[in-house]
């Protein structure tokens, strides 16, 4: 080609210029008009589309991304898709706030790993690593299958159905916590699998008639939090977090006794302790209070506890007069009198007296005697809490309790005790954990800090402190049940062996594998799991797998494929709370607000089911209809009316199949009056009554000496005696405990003996500690599979890692990032996982954040990033808490390099 220089330059210049002009025009057009034009066009197009589709709606509703479920959120829905979730400013608890769990709700709903439609397994082999060979089936076939099998079983022996439910479904009235379906079916074998992690209700209920205890932050100035989370650790949106932060910044002291330095310990003060030794710590506190300081709330003990009640020589009951009333010793008249005798001048708290031929003492005296040896030095050996600290903490409790002071609220004078011990699962889920809980409530009684301003309180309830014939808070209520001895046993799992057992659901598996030890005369054939999971809420994965294989048919109602689903013959998709009508009522004391009672949160409709899932209450009504369990007296509709306490004139018609909405509507109108239809309720998303001022504190309903808290634990004693008597009569042996053990713990005054927490083991030298993080609590909304929750967790240095105190790691020759296996004494091994070294953990501990890990074939891979801590827990009789049968959450572990 002939290219002269001139022509080349000319051509080039021409091309360049031309390009420049063209581009310039394009650019100018772009800058000046074209791009905006395009954008405007696009905007108009969108608007046109939007105008045809449903407009954006904002609906208030409940949040059930954790189990507190007291937050009201605003759900924004556009074109049927949930696009935004934020706090409802009108929410009475959360006032517009929404925690990390609620914020993750859209990812919870729109999760492609959800079970989308009913499925059956085609591979008969069952195991965690086995492919079930899922085949999708239609709803009609699924319901038919379930109905047919259940009908046949019910005709045979309805006890052969084991039904386990859990937190995730509690916003359903029929399929939720009330257990209406298994009650209708006629099986006693039901429970809540998470219950065994919940050893936090019994003593609280026995002492002050409430479900969960809490420190009063409104008046409290000194809180000794032992193994408990008050709020900041998990940062719920319900107002408690900011209220407590305010309180702590304004001078309230919170000493957090915990193996791990938590956010609350950071806000307050951290007192490290060896896990599972809290009983020793608390006994030492009592020792200091009674033996060194010799200070206590005598008035409270005399007038509002059984501290002055004389205990019989056998220490099995109060010493009673002929009328059966408990006796006290009048120290002025030097004579025994009935506790409510109007002539009493003064109650003796100490002394040995001969009454009715027995040498007896007031229970306070027995407590004082019984704690003589539990010195701070003794406790230091066991707990690693320095003796000086124990003394300081006891003194601080006493000093801050302002014993004898009062406060006038709403013109009513109440005792003021701005100090208390507060506790939770961290303390209670150990071998002697519940005895520790009881002991903590003893400390509170000694300083008069129960049910009063500043003290340890429960939800406001006029009936909570109702006294029984002995003048003591009634020990039986919704939250407390002592299983009476029955033989043959009431339940397949022979719950009678743990009289105060709280949902020892895992024990069914033991009975399946070793029926002779539980005197079973039948074998369950069907297992239905609704929002439950043994593997990550109980322990012993191998045993659990073996037990599940014993069933002939398993049906699970599952949000996603998890361990239970992997053993299922039929999997039914669960709906999330956002895809259905939902209501949740659960009152607890929460700091920072007038207290809500009779409160319900919920909604009627936010979005339609995203997949082929249905509302499970309606699924069960269809199943019941198909198996002729729905209509007529004694059947599902009938029991729904009864169990939900529906007002008689609002009863659902026994011959009609109701919708879930209708059930909710009747229930709401029963609770709040006829104006509160579901539609009305749905406008705000909540209904409640308020209690404030003095009525917040249950003391105000039963002031003075109108009721008493139990100081001497005749309940444990009775339970132990009942258990031994029952076994003797039936001629059976306890499957795991001997009488000596039962006698040691089931008694009126607590005592301590070594547990695995204080063993010196060169091999299993670490104690496991699992702690919640805000993203991962309760596993109610599948956080370990929620990509946002997992990513948020990944910003924590400890996520997915084995945490060791820096020095402990050094001694083991381990450094940050080294891969290790973790093993328990039962031979269960998990890992490998990387080590994370930290200063925020007791040196004896192995810490895991969040837990909630899942395993199994084909599960959402994200779920595997969390560590399945519960695999390391044992449900063995030698491991569980001796009062409630709760699982010990701090097993002895060892690490080995991978």
């Amino acid at each position: 080609m002939d290219i002269s220089r001139r022509s080349f330059v000319k051509t080039t210049a021409g091309v360049l210029a031309g390009t420049a002009v063209a581009a310039g025009v394009a650019g100018a057009a772009t800058e000046a008009g074209f791009l905006p034009l395009l954008q405007a066009t696009e905007g108009m197009f969108r608007e046109a589309l939007a105008a045809e589709a449903p407009t954006k709606t904002v609906t208030p509703g409940l949040c059930h991304s954790c189990h507190f479920a007291r937050c009201s959120l605003n759900y924004t829905v556009e074109d049927g898709v949930l696009t935004e979730v934020e706090g409802n400013p009108n929410g009475p608890w959360n006032e517009g706030k929404c925690c990390v769990r609620g914020q993750a709700a859209p990812a919870f709903v729109y999760n492609p790993y959800r079970v989308k439609t009913p499925m059956i397994r085609t591979n008969p082999e069952k195991g965690l690593d086995v492919d079930p060979g899922w085949v999708e089936i239609g709803w009609d076939e699924a319901i038919g299958m379930l109905a047919e099998k259940m009908a046949a079983l019910r005709a045979d022996d309805s006890r052969k159905l084991v039904w386990m439910h859990g937190f995730p479904v509690f916003y359903n009235l029929i399929t939720g916590m009330y257990g209406i379906v298994p009650a209708t079916f006629g099986t006693p074998n039901t429970g809540m699998i998470t219950g065994a992690l919940c050893s936090v209700h019994l003593s609280n209920s026995l002492v002050q008639g409430g479900f969960a205890q809490y420190p009063d932050f409104a008046y409290g100035k000194y809180i000794l939090a032992v193994g408990g989370t008050s709020a900041p650790n998990i940062a719920p949106g319900d107002g408690a977090t900011s209220y407590i932060v305010d309180a702590l910044k304004n001078g309230t002291r919170m000493v957090v006794v915990d193996p791990r330095c938590s956010p609350e310990a950071e806000l307050g003060e951290w007192q490290p302790i060896r896990p599972g030794t809290d009983l020793a710590y608390l006994l030492a506190l009592i020792n200091v209070i009674l033996h060194e300081e010799d200070r206590y709330d005598a008035w409270f003990l005399k007038n509002r506890t059984t501290g002055s009640y004389l205990i019989n020589e056998a220490q099995s009951d109060y010493l009673r007069n002929e009328a059966g009333k408990p006796l006290i010793w009048d120290s002025v008249d030097a004579a025994p009198k009935a506790f409510d005798d109007p002539t009493i001048n003064d109650f003796a708290l100490e002394g040995v007296y001969t009454v009715q031929g027995e040498k007896v003492s007031p229970s306070f005296h027995l407590l004082k005697q019984g704690t003589t040896d539990y010195t701070p030095e003794w406790a230091e050996e066991i707990t690693t809490v320095p003796a000086a600290n124990i003394r300081t903490q006891a003194r601080d409790l006493l000093d801050n309790a302002l014993i004898g002071s009062t406060v006038v609220i709403n013109g009513n004078e109440l005792p003021l005790r701005p100090a208390c011990v507060f506790l939770s699962r961290g303390m209670t889920n150990h071998r002697d954990g519940h005895v520790a809980f009881w002991t903590a409530m003893l400390v509170n009684q000694l300083i008069g800090a129960v049910a009063v301003p500043g003290g340890n309180v429960v939800a406001s309830d006029p009936g909570a402190l109702t006294p029984d014939a002995d003048g003591v808070v009634i020990p039986e209520n919704f939250h407390t049940r002592m299983w009476p001895w029955q033989f043959p046993h009431e339940m397949f799992q022979a719950q009678e062996f743990v009289p105060y057992g709280f949902d020892n659901a895992f024990r069914v598996n033991d009975a399946l594998l070793e029926p002779e030890r539980y005197q079973a005369d039948y074998k369950p054939e069907m297992f239905i799991s609704v929002g439950a999971n043994y593997f990550n809420k109980a322990g012993d994965p191998e045993r659990t797998s073996a037990a599940l294989r014993e069933y002939q048919f398993i049906a699970t109602f599952s949000y996603h494929i998890d361990e239970h689903a992997l053993f299922a013959d039929l999997v039914i998709p669960d709906s999330t709370y956002i895809e259905q009508a939902a209501v949740y009522n659960f009152d607890m004391y929460r700091p920072g607000h007038p207290q809500l009672v009779n409160s319900t949160f919920g909604h009627k409709h936010i979005i339609d089911p995203v997949f082929d899932n249905r509302w499970i209450d309606e699924v069960w009504m269809d199943v019941a209809e198909r198996m002729e369990m729905l209509y007529g007296p004694g059947q599902l509709v009938f029991l729904t009316n009864i169990i939900l306490g529906i007002r008689p004139d609002l009863w659902l018609d026994l011959g009609t199949k109701p919708t879930q909405e209708e059930v909710i509507d009747r229930w709401l109108r029963t609770r709040y009056g006829d104006e509160m239809t579901l539609d009305t309720f749905a406008e705000t998303g909540f209904a409640y009554e308020e209690v404030s001022g003095d009525k917040v504190f249950n003391y105000s309903y039963w002031p003075g000496s109108q009721t008493r808290h139990p100081l001497f634990n005749i309940y444990f004693k009775r339970a132990g005696d009942q258990l031994r008597a029952g076994m003797r009569e039936a001629g059976v042996e306890h499957p795991g405990w001997d009488n000596e053990l039962i006698d040691f713990y089931y008694r009126g005054i607590p005592q301590w003996r070594p547990t695995h927490a204080v063993e010196t083991s060169s091999e299993f030298d670490l104690l496991g500690v699992l702690y919640k993080t805000p993203e991962m609590i309760f596993d109610v909304s599948g956080p370990s599979g929620n990509p946002w929750s997992v990513e948020a967790m990944e910003t924590r240095p400890e996520f997915g890692k084995i945490c060791l105190n820096t020095q402990t790691a050094e001694k083991k020759g381990l450094a940050e990032g080294d891969e290790v296996y973790v093993e328990n004494r039962g031979g269960v091994r998990i890992g490998p996982y990387p080590v994370h070294t930290t200063e925020l953990l007791h040196p004896d501990c192995l810490g895991i954040a969040g837990g909630n890990g899942h395993v199994g074939h084909g599960i959402n891979p994200r779920m595997k990033r969390s560590i399945p801590y519960n695999h390391l827990l044992s449900t063995g009789w030698d491991a569980v808490d001796v009062i409630t049968g709760a699982i010990d959450t701090s097993p002895r572990l060892k690490v080995t390099r991978a």
Binding site: I3, S4, R5, F8, T12, A20, G24, G27, T30, E31
Partner: protein, 387 residues
């Protein structure tokens, strides 16, 4: 004709008669491609076979190296290419003043390389951008508060000046002046692009970076000239200059590290640690030793063809590594103190291989055009003489 131009012409005539394989194009009867050119052509082709698909994938799917570093190999090549191109232009511009007659004789060849490097540098920006088509906004709505824009325009101007020097038979001194100015402007601006980046303390606390960029550009340019051109008359001076530049670069590097180590805190101190004894240490010491110290020693003790060539190659590689070092060290430590990571992806490597091929291609095409023109001009000259 001026004396200078006479001289230049004489030199050119002389040059024509010496055995310089790359000048063979001036003789119409010689083969169209030399062996070296064929080899370069094959290399270019192979490079582009790898490069073009890499560019296409990179531009359509937005992929980069693994890790948290956003300016990696691509930008390293950009700075290298622009640095060589602009510094070559500066040296060529200087030669128009008659002080480097050997370089002057090679000016067309060097201008082709200069243009190729500058053009490919712009191309790299285009490929590297997350949304390449919007790069044109630099032309149509430039934000002159950004030094990036200034750099772009300086590169464009430098490329234009290279072209003019290429095609002007007797480029004037004024052009040489422009060449020096814009040649240096590119490297200075690029250094300043890093130096004004407030978010990168290692760049912004370091006055040495613009200086270093100028030095590195000149090192690469001189090394390239020594490597592929025949300039026996000036070889000694060029080698001395290269030596001095290498020494200066060593000093600047040392000052950078020492100042950062003793006066820097937080991120800067961590960065120096990472550079000298941490994850970047192999790269850092590699480029100091292989890229600066070894060539410096080689040139100082021995100046044979082989040792000069070796030193030149090492020096150019040293500049490549040095700019990578600058980039990575600046991005090594995040705002929260954690260390970032970087591993070039295969795609990035492919793209970079492509850039090299593209430069080779443009140079080869450019040489063909020039040869063709020269043959034509000679015919014209002959015919003029005949006429």
């Amino acid at each position: 004709m001026t004396t200078q131009q006479e001289k230049a012409t004489a030199h050119t005539a002389q040059a024509t008669h010496t055995k310089a394989p790359l000048d063979a194009v001036t003789q119409a009867k010689r083969p169209r491609f030399t062996r070296a050119q064929l080899l370069a052509g094959i290399i270019a082709l192979l490079c582009l076979i790898v490069g073009i698909p890499s560019w296409v994938i990179q531009m359509t799917t937005v992929q980069f190296g693994e890790g948290l570093v956003t300016w990696g190999l691509n930008i390293d090549l950009f700075f290298l290419s622009a640095g060589i191109g602009s510094s070559l232009l500066a040296v060529t511009g200087l030669s128009l003043f008659g002080v480097l007659p050997g370089v002057y004789a090679q000016r067309k060849f060097l201008s082709i390389i200069s243009f190729a490097c500058l053009f490919v540098a712009s191309w790299i920006v285009f490929v590297d951008a997350g949304t390449p088509l919007r790069v044109f906004s630099i032309i149509f709505s430039p934000q002159f508060n950004s030094l990036f824009v200034w750099d772009f325009y300086f590169i464009a101007l430098a490329a234009l000046i290279s072209l003019i020097i290429l095609f002007k038979r007797e480029p004037k001194r004024a052009l040489g002046c422009l060449g020096i100015v814009f040649g240096l402007a590119v490297t200075i601006t690029e250094g300043c692009v890093l130096a004004v980046s407030v978010g990168t303390p290692h760049w912004s606390l370091n006055i040495g970076i613009p200086i270093l960029f100028v030095l590195e550009g000149m090192i690469a340019a001189l090394a390239l000239i020594l490597l592929i051109s025949r300039v026996p008359q000036e070889e000694k001076r060029l080698v001395n200059a290269l030596l001095a530049l290498l020494a200066a670069a060593l000093v600047v590097n040392a000052v950078d590290v020492l100042v950062g180590a003793y006066l820097g805190s937080g991120i800067e101190a961590t960065t120096i640690a990472v550079m000298v004894v941490g994850g970047l240490a192999p790269l850092f010491w590699g480029q100091i030793l292989l890229g600066l110290l070894v060539p410096l020693i080689l040139l100082a003790i021995r100046r044979t063809r082989v040792s000069i060539s070796c030193a030149a190659v090492l020096a150019i590689v040293g500049v490549f590594l040095g700019k990578l070092m600058t980039l990575l060290s600046g991005q090594a430590v995040l705002a929260d103190g954690t260390l970032s990571t970087y591993m070039p992806s295969l795609l990035e490597l492919g793209a970079c291989v492509g850039y090299v091929g593209f430069v080779l291609l443009i140079v080869l095409v450019g040489m063909q055009i020039v040869a063709h023109r020269a043959a034509q001009n000679e015919s014209v000259l002959v015919s003029e003489e005949l006429a």
